[in-house]
């Protein structure tokens, strides 16, 4: 049990490090121009009858479109940037969350530290007592470790999770993309990164992607499966790198783990004079003893 605790603790131990060294960008409204160069208009003799470049509302995320003759520019509200305000700026460049992760938020100051328990805001530097008040939910018992900031929640059946917050109803059904539960731990024991973590800004799946809400993705770190993978997953930080892993979630009862094999009984092998009459039907058993 001690070893298991130790492993669980170690699975989530990491140091903050500075990843981004880009120069700071314009802090407020950022002007971006469309692509046509200056000489374009005079060379091709654009007339006044040319269509208003702002008429198609090219600026995303409530960006304000400014007509510049044949061109447009977008005034992007924080934290957005890019020609059409389609990008999210890394507002965490100057922020250090020592024992936590810096998240991008859509309200001022546009960043926030999410601290690992028991470290506290604003910069996750100071730890409070890990077991007081008891962070364990559902009647879990908090056990302190020798290291001051470490703790383990001992959960009563059937609850589990770092804070015993996961109940038996927290499971995924046949469509993994519909999972909206609160598991936030990967199968390897690591805690999931928040979908709005600054570490995920370069990833196509994050809290700022199109239709994030529809996929249940937002300012949280619960496992999800927006790409309808075999089960819910999340991004984790491992050895100073962002990786992903499936989550420690069970299929709901009645939902068998997906099997690539047909559920019908295998077709009887045809007689030698009827060879290859049936295509695409393997004979082997669908389950294999491990």
């Amino acid at each position: 049990s001690f070893l298991a605790d130790l492993l669980r603790d170690e699975a989530d131990e990491y140091e903050y490090y500075d990843e981004y060294t880009q120069p700071e960008q314009e802090p407020f409204l950022q002007q971006q121009f469309s692509e046509d160069p200056d000489w374009f208009e005079s060379f091709f003799g654009y007339s006044d009858t040319k269509k208003d470049p702002c008429s198609s509302n090219p600026c995303k995320n409530n960006g304000e479109c400014e007509n510049r003759g044949s061109r447009f520019s977008c005034l992007c509200p924080e934290p957005y940037a890019g020609t059409t305000c389609e990008k999210v700026k890394n507002m965490c460049l100057e922020k250090r969350c020592h024992r936590g992760d810096c998240l991008i938020t859509l309200t001022p100051p546009y960043f926030q530290c999410s601290c690992n328990h028991p470290y506290n805001s604003p910069d996750c530097r100071q730890a409070s007592s890990p077991c007081r008040p008891n962070p364990c939910k559902n009647g879990g018992t908090c056990i302190r470790h020798r290291i001051r900031s470490k703790f383990t929640c001992e959960c009563p059946e059937p609850f589990r999770g770092r804070f015993c917050e996961i109940g038996p109803d927290d499971c995924y059904g046949e469509a993994s993309s519909e999972y909206r539960g609160k598991v936030n731990q990967a199968a390897n024991g690591k805690t999931c990164l928040h979908w709005n973590s600054h570490l995920l800004l370069d990833y196509t799946i994050n809290a700022f992607m199109e239709d994030a809400d529809a996929y249940g993705i937002g300012e949280h770190n619960f496992c999800r499966s927006p790409d309808e993978d075999e089960k819910p997953w999340c991004y984790i930080r491992k050895n100073h790198k962002v990786e992903w892993d499936f989550c420690d979630i069970s299929p709901c009862s009645g939902t068998a783990e997906e099997s690539p094999w047909p559920t019908d009984s295998p077709t009887d092998p045809p007689g030698s004079n009827e060879m290859f009459k049936i295509c695409g039907q393997p004979e082997i058993q669908r389950t294999v003893k491990r």
């Binding site: 990833y203 196509t204 799946i205 790409d227 309808e228 075999e230 992903w244 997906e258 690539p260 047909p262 559920t263 019908d264 092998p269 045809p270 060879m275 290859f276 049936i278 295509c279 695409g280 039907q281 393997p282 004979e283 082997i284 294999v288």
Partner: protein, 238 residues
């Protein structure tokens, strides 16, 4: 994978003086016919052999069936442009042994040819003895699940930027590094299930690296070549 899970899987091997060398995959569609990738064909038929029912390349296995190749038919429009194979498909006609080609067993079976489309997002299967993270060839037959990717997404600027034509499609994952086919898997099957039967929907063809984000595996679209396959087999069987 386990023996018999992909009984249509073929190993194309080059006959050498020492040990025969696997170089590509293939898929059994008729007792005497194996489908493979056009770019796998660089050798004359007499230098090739096709092994069916194989699991471990390094062992002699009781369930294996070995055939010489009687004829190679590479698609007439097969071409390589900027290193990318187009119309990447070929048929191998097996040379009968004792008057017959493949004999159906638990480990050797034909796969179905699809005359319909599977939608993007369908879970399909790939198999082969190709390169892994650690080795150039896997001695054991490996398999993996991949999802079909829409042509629009795979031809987007962040992926293959309009390189794909109608003879190809992608499968795998665009957002994250996931299971993928690799060198040595070429010509092998991508199968999908419909009504409990496996259909060869793609042939392993090419890709930028292996298992990279935004660069999924590209497969020959078998449905595009359905009439070509049928007409070649029909004319050869007459």
């Amino acid at each position: 994978t386990t023996a018999g899970k992909h009984p249509w899987m073929a190993s194309l091997q080059m006959k050498t003086s020492k040990r025969n060398r696997h170089f590509c995959g293939g898929v059994l569609i008729k007792p005497c016919w194996v489908l493979t990738a056009g770019h796998c064909i660089e050798q004359p038929a007499e230098n090739l052999q096709v092994v069916l029912g194989k699991q471990n390349l390094k062992k002699r296995e009781h369930q294996e069936q070995i055939f010489d190749v009687e004829k190679i038919i590479v698609h007439s429009k097969y071409k390589e442009k900027d290193g990318i194979p187009h119309n990447d498909i070929a048929l191998l006609k097996l040379k009968p042994v004792d008057g017959h080609c493949a004999v159906e067993t638990k480990y050797v079976k034909t796969v179905c040819l699809p005359d319909f489309f599977f939608p993007a997002g369908t879970d399909c299967f790939i198999s082969g003895w190709g390169a892994t993270e650690t080795d150039e060839v896997s001695r054991q037959l490996l398999d993996a699940n991949v999802k079909l990717i829409s042509q629009r997404k795979c031809n987007s600027p962040t992926a293959y930027d309009h390189v794909l034509d109608e003879s190809m499609f992608c499968a795998g994952n665009l957002q994250r590094p996931r299971a993928d086919s690799c060198q040595g898997d070429s010509g092998g099957p991508l199968t999908c299930i419909e009504n409990g039967s496996y259909y060869v929907y793609g042939l392993v063809s090419w890709g930028d690296g292996c298992g990279l984000k935004n660069k999924p595996g590209v497969y020959t679209q078998v449905t595009t070549f359905l009439s070509w396959i049928k007409s070649k087999i029909r004319s050869e069987s007459r």
